[in-house]
């Protein structure tokens, strides 16, 4: 079992830092926790692991980071019940959403509200799929649920958002007439 060399760990840091930092911020909302967690992630990588069995690196790093951040958040909020891990993560909000269509203020607001009403899990899945291009299988691995579960969450999330987008589509069609 080979250990990751110092050079390799630093290369991985340089390559994935920005994606990791953005993901970390989306789930923790905290710059310090994110930066510290990334440090821990790479030190961990160097000391204990090897990547021989990991075929695709990015989702693996995402998964590790996620776990480290959750542990970190748990420490800061010791009184929260240990139910679902998802409860700990609460950072993605409609603030992070950019609506690319030209919508009137009301419709845009409702669409953002629809996003806020998604479950934490749904939000994270939509983010991982849309922003990081992770496959359903990879997302399942990162979060620790089944592939089918990911698809279900994603499908529900999009249906929910679409209800508000359809209105938007109809409206914008009216405008272009």
């Amino acid at each position: 079992m080979s250990e990751l060399g110092r050079r390799k760990v630093l290369d991985l840091y340089k390559q994935y830092f920005y994606d990791l930092f953005n993901y970390g911020m989306k789930i923790s909302g905290d710059k310090e926790i994110t930066a510290d967690s990334i440090q821990d992630l790479f030190l961990d990588l160097y000391r204990k692991r090897n990547l021989d069995e990991v075929k695709i690196i990015k989702p693996y790093l995402f998964k590790c980071l996620r776990n480290i951040i959750i542990d970190s958040l748990k420490k800061n909020r010791p009184l929260v019940s240990m139910d679902e891990q998802a409860d700990q993560i609460n950072s993605l909000s409609s603030e992070d959403l950019i609506i690319r269509r030209e919508l009137d203020h009301q419709t845009s607001r409702r669409l953002k509200q629809a996003f806020d009403n998604l479950s934490v899990r749904q939000k994270e899945i939509v983010y991982l799929r849309f922003y990081n291009g992770l496959s359903y299988a990879e997302i399942a691995d990162v979060i620790g649920i089944t592939n089918q579960s990911v698809r279900n969450h994603f499908s529900l999330a999009l249906k929910h958002l679409r209800k508000h987008m359809i209105t938007a589509l109809t409206l914008s069609a009216l405008w272009t007439v």
């Binding site: 110092r6 760990v9 630093l10 840091y13 340089k14 390559q15 994935y16 830092f17 920005y18 994606d19 930092f21 953005n22 911020m25 989306k26 710059k31 930066a35 990334i38 440090q39 790479f42 030190l43 160097y46 603030e95 992070d96 959403l97 950019i98 609506i99 690319r100 269509r101 669409l111 996003f115 983010y127 799929r129 849309f130 922003y131 291009g133 496959s135 359903y136 698809r151 994603f154 499908s155 999009l158 249906k159 958002l161 679409r162 987008m165 938007a168 589509l169």
Partner: protein
Amino acid sequence: MSFNHFKVDDFIENESFQSFALNRHQDDITFWAQWIKNHPEKKAEFDEALSVLRSFEFRNEPVESKVFANGLEKLEQSLNGDVAQPVTLPMRPTKNYLKIAAAIALLIGVTAASFVYVKYFYDKSNQIFVEKSTPRGTKLSVKLPDGSLIKLNGGSRLTYRQNDITKTRKLTLEGEAFFEVKRDTLRPFIVTSGNVTTTALGTSFNIRSYPSDPFTKIYLVTGKIKVDQSDGSLPKPFTLLPGDGISYDEVNKTLTVSKGNSEDAIAWKNGVIKFNNASITDVKNILERWYGVDIILNNMPSDDWRIDGTFENESLENVLRSLQYTSKMEYNFKKDILIITFN
């Protein structure tokens, strides 16, 4: 596998279709672009699904390079078994020059994955626009789908329509970039920079066209390029051969060809700053873009003040100290703004 029975929801939830909609993987993009051509009867559902998937994106605040640099430094020290200590970007007085140079070289050497500021948005014709930009003080390598390589200098912006890149290879540049164009006689590579249009088939060249400079400069390293005014108003476009440089005066709208100097034109790619008969304004612009710092000049020297010099992977501190040898001036930093006062 047949997708003929697909409804809007099915398209939306299909991973490959999502990849196509969001421009992730070339295979998916090619597949679905072709598929819809073969199945025009599905256009309505296809377009609606596309529209839904492209309706929103996530806002990522650009991460300050300090966070990256500090983390890297800390990680290196930890891996060395040293006690981790946060380090600020080396622009301030410090004793260890080698360490400064190495840190700056590291930052300059870091590639696309870290410093890309990529934006996707729609233009009026509802096509997807890609914008890749660099903040001042950083460089970026971009690889296009055809294999062409573009290296962006600090404070630059490259934009293109997703469609144009696969079909006709058209881009717009603001700032400075070095292009290595993959040969393709069927698809001319066209760069618009301000009022100048450069056309190439398979070649490497440098374009320098910062909005704050009155000149656009182009230098050809290999191959052949055609340079014209963007409104096609020149009686005949200029053809450049290797070693030729062209300078376009934005104010007087004139093009001048000269024997260029590769040293000067493309030294930036290798981390080398060259001042060649540079005025104080040139120096200010170059340093601002290179180090990403704002500069205020007090008591500017006379108009005929010029300087020559070459700096390779040097800290800002060292460059300033060198300048002091030739001119009496003082400099200090006030809240990340560099103030240079001449005597």
